[in-house]
Amino acid sequence: MSEIRDVVIIGSGPAGLTAAIYAARASLSPLVIEGEPSSTSDQPGGQLMLTTDVENFPGFPEGIMGPELMSNFRSQAQRFGAKFITEKVTAVNFENRPFEISVGNDKYLTRSVIISTGAQSLMLNIPNESRLIGHGLSTCATCDGFFFRDQEIAVVGGGDSAIEEAIFLTRFASKVYLIHRRDELRASKIMQERAFQNPKLEFLWNNEVAQINGDQKLDGITLNNTITSEKLDLKIQGLFIAIGHRPNTDLFKGHLELKDNGYLVTLPDSSRTAIDGVFACGDVQDDYYRQAITAAGSGCMAAIDAERWLEEHGH
């Protein structure tokens, strides 16, 4: 309790772990409060823990598995002395100095804080959704695709992660419907091309999921056409949700400035927030690029910003 740390890092995706590597190498003995296991993307290692091949992270010409990449990040931070707590921060107090970070009843005192809590998957928020998670409804194609061999399933969403999941799922399923509420995809060109060439993928444009059906397990969904309002019942055994993300900023409401969409505000060209000594990096403050490599880059910025700030303040 009484020990005052130089820096506490909240979150452990590419941003937080890069910050940890740099801070550890700068002899700041960072403490990383990495989050706790879950099957959503809000977990230690972040969103990449739910992916398979990462093909666009430089340095891996053949690609690398998401969980393996994150485990490498973590080992690298550990090698330079970063310490980890596998729990979730429950409260922050930035009003007094040193800052106070609470994990349940435990409190950690620190001169500076790096926030890298990332973002988590959005859910549809319609009836039956939470009840059928794990029973045909999934937020993790890599975890659950295997169980839908030779079955018909659907993915809802239109961004890169939706397309990636849909393509991945065609390895198992006999047919994958891609449900998107518009008539064009947000996904990158290369992903779109791959999707359009895949014979097992069928696009259902201008449709949204109106209803999830099933008692013990999911057995279908009802779609609503966003233009004609026509309803369509689709018999499927699995539904994978990939409709985007929201930043994990609930913890910071009332403490730090948030944009209208919930992302943390950082000062231009830096990782600084409005509170001196509190820095933010990665997807929690990035509603535009949202890549592992940009998150890692901004994690590096945050560690350097924190190091210089501590130096200026005589630590």
Binding site: P37, Q43, L50, F147
Partner: protein, 107 residues
């Protein structure tokens, strides 16, 4: 690994589960499942700390019939067997405290 966590497959599952005097928590997992890897160390801790509970693992890649038999559609899936019968199912990775809370009545 301090605790004894058995790897079960289709040839050993029924015998082991059926003859166990203590409840057995079976972890259905696979190499490609990130959340499964995340809870593995937690299960090792629980195996060491909770003497009244055995823990076993089933690799769903190697034993797809077992996964099918128990209707598994998502992993990690933890099924607690008591007297050879499934008594409780938990789907998805969870922190240790939440797992222990759910297992409370069997410990």
């Amino acid at each position: 690994m301090a605790a004894d966590i058995k790897n079960l497959d289709e040839s050993t599952f029924d015998e082991t589960i059926g003859s166990s005097e203590t409840p057995v928590l079976v972890d259905f997992w696979a190499e490609w499942c990130g959340p499964c890897k995340m809870i593995a160390p937690i299960l090792e801790e629980i195996a060491t700390e909770e003497q009244g509970l055995s823990i076993a693992k089933v690799n769903v890649d190697e034993s797809p019939d077992l996964a099918r038999r128990y209707g598994i559609m998502s992993i990690p899936a933890l099924i607690l067997f008591q007297n050879g019968e499934p008594a409780k199912t938990m789907v998805g990775a969870k922190p240790k405290s939440a797992l222990l809370e759910e297992l409370g009545e069997f410990l």
